[in-house]
Symmetry: C2
Subunit: 581 residues, 2 copies
C-alpha cells in the first residue's frame, strides 16, 4: 500500500500520488487522524468545500490475516463538528488495499449539479456520471453497479439520505455477496459524501490476490496459531452463535438496555428481541444464523434474518439496531425491527442515530412509544426527505431541539449507542470522552469485570479501552478479534511483523494508537472543543435509571478530564517507523 488517490470534486481531477513521508505506515483510523489534523481546516463547514472524505483500509488490509479487511471512512462530522472515523466491514477495504491504496481522499465540492461515481481499477481511477444511479436506494445502487461494472466489484455508496445531506446518513459497503449492508454508519459521513456529489465508489481488483506477507514462513506459523485460538475461544463462539444480539439479555439484566428514549434500561419485551430468540427464529425460518461479512472471517457474527417464507428481510440484524429501534421505541417485534433496519439500510441511514431520533420523536409526542406502523412511516418520511423526515433524519439532537425534548441521548451531537450510560458507566465514560462522540466501538466496557453501575474503575477501564481500540482500527482488524488478540498481544505483533516486515513490539502499536487519539483530539481542539464537550447530557447525571438501582452517571469531571490528558504525542510516529525495516 503505497499510493494515495486524491480526487478533487471542484476541479474533477483524479491524481495518484506517493504518500508524504509523514503518512508512511499510517493507515485506517491513524491515517484519517493525521491527515485531518495536517490538511483540513478544523473549523470548516462539514458539508462545505473544505472538508474531505477519506476511505482507507488498515495496515493489514488485503492480507490473509483473518478479519483484517475493515474500511475506515473519515472526515469532519456534520453531527459532532469534530473528527470522525466510521469503520465498516465487507470487502471495500480489502479491494482498496489490494489495489495498493493507502487512502482515497475526496476533496472539494462540485461546481454544478452533476453527480459522480468514482471507479477505481488496477489501471487507474476516473470519475463517471452517476446519472441513473442518483436517487436510488443502496440495494438497487449496488445491484446495478455490479450489473454494469461486474459482479465482483466492491461498492461504497450512499442512499437518498446521504444525497439529501441528512446528518443521520451513513455510507454502505458491500459484503462478500455484494450486498451493501456493511455500514460506516456513524457521524453523518453519508451527508459529506452527498455534499460532494459522489454517489458511489466502485472498486474493481480483478486479477489481484491477497497481499503476500513479507515474511512468509513466520506468517504461516503465526496465522495457524491465531486460527487455533479463534476456533477454541468461547467469546468468539458466542459471537458466531448469537451475533451481537447476545447482548440483549446481558444489558437488560443490568438495566442497561436503552428503553423508551433511554429513560430506563430494562424492557418488558426484551425476551422477544433477544439474541436467543433471534437465533431460534432464524433457524426455524431457515435463514442464516452465522454469516461472514468478509472473506477469511472465522468469527461470523453476522446473520441473515428472513421472514416466515424464508425470504431475506435484512442482513445482519444486530444488537445496536435491535436496541435503538426495538426497546428504545418499545417495539418488541423482530420482524418490525428488521423492516425498520432494511428501510434504514436502503435509504442509507445509521440505525443508531435514526433509532435515537425516533425515540426523541416519541418522547416529544410526534407518535406514541410502541407505534410500529408509525415508526415505519417516519423512516419512510426520512427516505423521502419530507419536512418531518428532515427533522428526524438530521439526528437525535436536532429532533430534540425542534420538538422541545430536553432528554436527548447524545454526546457531541451524536446519538449514544445501545449501552445506557448510567447502568454501564465505563461505556458512558467512553461516550463522554471519545473524540468520536458517543460511539461504543471507541471503548466498550460491557464485557469488563466491573460493577457496571458503580463509578469505580470506569474511567481507568475506558481509558485503557480507548487507547487500545485504535490499534485494531489502524490495522483494519475487526474489533471482535480483540476477543482473542487482547489476551495475546504477542500474536498480534507477530502477525503485523510477518505481514509488513516490521519489527514492532506491542508498545509501538500502542504508541501509534495513542498518537491517533492525540491527533484526533488536536483536530477537535482546533475545531473548538473543550472539556465541556467531554460530558454527558445533564439529565443522565441527575435523573436516576430505575432499572439500574437508580444510578445516575456520577463519574467525576476530573476523572473524565484525565482519560485523555493532553500529553505530548507518545513515542513519535517517526520513531515507530524507524523501528520498521
Amino acid at each position: 500500500m503505497s499510493k494515495i488517490l486524491r480526487v478533487n470534486m471542484s476541479t474533477l481531477s483524479v491524481v495518484t500520488e506517493e504518500p508524504k513521508e509523514e503518512y508512511r505506515l499510517l493507515s485506517g483510523r491513524a491515517f484519517i487522524a493525521k491527515y485531518m489534523l495536517t490538511e483540513v481546516k478544523a473549523t470548516c463547514e462539514p458539508l462545505g468545500r473544505h472538508n474531505s472524505l477519506i476511505f482507507t483500509p488498515g495496515l493489514l488490509g488485503g492480507s490473509k490475516v483473518f478479519s483484517s479487511g475493515r474500511i475506515s471512512i473519515g472526515g469532519k462530522s456534520p453531527l459532532t463538528g469534530g473528527i470522525k472515523e466510521s469503520n465498516g466491514g465487507g470487502v471495500v477495504g480489502i479491494k482498496l488495499a489490494r489495489l495498493g491504496y493507502q487512502a482515497v481522499i475526496i476533496e472539494g465540492l462540485p461546481k454544478d449539479a452533476q453527480k459522480y461515481i468514482l471507479k477505481i481499477t488496477a489501471t487507474g481511477a476516473e470519475l463517471l456520471s452517476a446519472e441513473g444511479y442518483w436517487g436510488c436506494g443502496v440495494y438497487e445502487t449496488a445491484a446495478r453497479l455490479r450489473q454494469d461494472f461486474g459482479e465482483k466489484v466492491a461498492v461504497s455508496c450512499i442512499g437518498p439520505a446521504g444525497e439529501n445531506r441528512l446528518l443521520a446518513a451513513g455510507i454502505a459497503n458491500t459484503d462478500t455477496e455484494g450486498v451493501p449492508s456493511r455500514y460506516s454508519g456513524r457521524g453523518g459521513l453519508g451527508a459529506v459524501m452527498g455534499s460532494k456529489g459522489l454517489k458511489a465508489l466502485v472498486i474493481d481488483d480483478t486479477g489481484l490476490g491477497s497481499i503476500e506477507p513479507k515474511r512468509p514462513e513466520a506468517f504461516k506459523r503465526v496465522i495457524q496459531e491465531y486460527a487455533q485460538l479463534l476456533k477454541t475461544s468461547p467469546v468468539i463462539k458466542n459471537y458466531t452463535d448469537f451475533g451481537t444480539a447476545a447482548l440483549v439479555n446481558l444489558t437488560n439484566a443490568i438495566g442497561g438496555l436503552p428503553t423508551r428514549n433511554f429513560s430506563t434500561g430494562r424492557f418488558s419485551g426484551a425476551d422477544k428481541i433477544s439474541g436467543e430468540t433471534l437465533r431460534e427464529t432464524i433457524l426455524v425460518r431457515k435463514g442464516k444464523p452465522e454469516h461472514a461479512c468478509m472473506p477469511g472471517c472465522l468469527i461470523k457474527c453476522s446473520n441473515v434474518y428472513v421472514d416466515e417464507q424464508g425470504k431475506d428481510l435484512v442482513a445482519p440484524l444486530e444488537y445496536e439496531t435491535i436496541a435503538l429501534m426495538g426497546s428504545n421505541l418499545e417495539i418488541e417485534d423482530l420482524d418490525v425491527i428488521a423492516r425498520l433496519n432494511y428501510l434504514c439500510n436502503d435509504y442509507g441511514l445509521d440505525t443508531i442515530e435514526t433509532g435515537a431520533a425516533l425515540g426523541v420523536a416519541m418522547a416529544g409526542g410526534l407518535l406514541p412509544f410502541g407505534d410500529q406502523e408509525g415508526a415505519i412511516r417516519m423512516v419512510e418520511e426520512i427516505g423521502k426527505a419530507t419536512l418531518t423526515g428532515r427533522v428526524l433524519g438530521n439526528g437525535a439532537m436536532l429532533a430534540g431541539k425542534v420538538l422541545g425534548v430536553l432528554e436527548v441521548p447524545v454526546v457531541k451531537g451524536q446519538a449514544m449507542a445501545a449501552y445506557e450510560p448510567r447502568a454501564i458507566k465505563g461505556t458512558g465514560v467512553t461516550y463522554a470522552t471519545s473524540p468520536m462522540g458517543a460511539d461504543h466501538t471507541a471503548g466498550n466496557s460491557i464485557r469488563a469485570g466491573l460493577k457496571h453501575n458503580s463509578r469505580e474503575g470506569q474511567a481507568a477501564f475506558s481509558q485503557k479501552a480507548q487507547h487500545t481500540v485504535p490499534i485494531y482500527d489502524d490495522l483494519g482488524l475487526c474489533l471482535f478479534s480483540m476477543g482473542v488478540l487482547g489476551a495475546h498481544p504477542e500474536i498480534l505483533c507477530q502477525l503485523v511483523n510477518a505481514q509488513l516486515g516490521t519489527d514492532y513490539v506491542f508498545e509501538d502499536l500502542q504508541a501509534i494508537a495513542r498518537n491517533t487519539i492525540q491527533w484526533e483530539r488536536g483536530f477537535n481542539q482546533a475545531a473548538g472543543f473543550t472539556k465541556v464537550n467531554d460530558r454527558l447530557p445533564e439529565h443522565f447525571t441527575e435523573t436516576p435509571n430505575p432499572a439500574a438501582e437508580n444510578a445516575v452517571f456520577d463519574v467525576p469531571g476530573e476523572e473524565l478530564d484525565n482519560v485523555h490528558p493532553d500529553l505530548e504525542l507518545q513515542k513519535s510516529q517517526k520513531d515507530c517507523m524507524d523501528s520498521a525495516c
Copy 2:
C-alpha cells in the same frame, strides 16, 4: 435599589433579600454578568432547572434621567449556549427600580404543570395562578392583566412562542400606554421564561414616584444641560423624525441592507420600505411618526404604524424588523411587514430571529422569496407550534440544519441583526466577538466614520464600542442617548453622581463596563466557548457581497482575538465602590 427578589419555581418560594456585597452598585447588564458567573452553572441546560432568568433595571432606573428606564433581562441563552442580556424599553425597569428592586431572579423549574404569574407590589411579591392567561397572545395577556390588576401596572410577559419554549421567543414589556410591544427579544429568553412556567410579571408601583437624586442641586443643573443637548442634537432629531427606519436608505446605499437571506446587501424595493416612506405613510394615514416608549424620553424614536383606515397595525415598526422581514425576504410592502411584526409581537417572537429563519426557509425552498402570504402563514404556524412552526420558531440556525441550508446568518447560534457584515465590517466584528452573539446593540459601527466594507480600523472601532455600550446597559440608559452623551462623558458622570451620590469619573464607568464584558466572557468560557466561537460563518468570509464591491468579511482572526484580550479584570468593582460615598 437595595433589594433582590428571589423566586424559586421548584419550591414556589418568594424571598426578598439584601444583595450580597459583591452585587452592590451593580445593576442591569453588569448585575446579570456578575450573577451568572457567580451563581449559575455555565454548562447547564438553558431550559433546565439550573438556569435562571433575571430582570434588572439599570443603576439610573426610576430616576428622572431621560430614557434611563431600560430593563435588562438575562440568563443563559438556549440559542447561543452562552450568557444573554436582552434589553428592552417601556416602563418595567422604571417600576421595578421604584419598588426598590435591584433584580428579580427566577430560579428552578416547577415540579408540575402549574403555570404562574409573579405579582410584585410595594407590599411584597407573590406567585399567582396563570390560569386564564396561559395560552393568550401578549396583547390580550397584557390587556387582561391590566384589567385585573389595574391600568397602571407594568407587565413583562411571554406569548405562545415562549410557552412552547421556542428558541426565537422573546419577552414583551409594556410601554407608557400599557401596550406590550417593547421587546427583550433576543437570545430566546422567552423560552427560558416558558420553561419556568412563568407567564408574566405584573408590577404595581402605585404610590411611588421617581427616585430622588442624592444631590438635588447638582442634578437640576446637569439635567437641564443634558435636555438642552438632546433638544439640539441633529442625530436625535433624525431618530425622532424617522425612527430607526432612517437606516434603510443608509445601509442600502452601501450594500449593507440584508437582502434575500443575507445573500446581498441591496434591495430593489428599498425605497418602498425606507424611513422616509414610513414617515410619509404614517403622516398620511394619521398615525404617530413620533412616540416615546417610556415617560421622560425626549428621543421618541418609536412610532405607531396604522392602516389606511388609521387603525393601529403595530407600534413601533423598526429598522431591524423592516430589514429582516422586508428586504431579507424580498417583501417590499410596509403593511405586510407591519402585519408580520404584529403577529411576531403577539406570539412573543423576536422579529430578528424569526425574520432570519424565514429567510433561511425561503433559501431552503420551503416557500419562495417575496411570498407575502406564505410568510404570514409561516409565522402563524410558529404561533400554533406546528412541526413547520417549530422548525422555524427555533431560530435560523436550527431551520438551516433541518432544511440543509448552509448559508445561515448566525453567530453563536443567534441570528444577525440588520447589518450585512461584509458591507459593514465593524458591526461584523461585533457580531463575531460579542459574548452575546450577533447583536447590533453590542457595538454597531453603522454611524462610524469608516469605510464600512474595508477591514481597516473595524476591530478597533468595535472594541471601543463594545467596551462602551455596557456603560449604558449597566445604567439602564437607552443606547440612543449615546448620540449625545458619547461626546459628553462629563455630563454622563455628573448625571450618575448627582443621582447616586457617587464620585465616579468616566474611567470608573468604563471599568465596570469592561468588567461586565469580562464576566460575560468568563461565563461563556466556562460554558465551553473558545475563539472558534468568535468567528462569522464560513460563507461570509468566502462568498462576496455583490452590493458592497464584492467584499468578503476579511478582518483577520488575530484582530478578532484581540478585541477582548482576556485581561485581568479592570480596576475592580470593589475599587469602584470604594470611591462611592
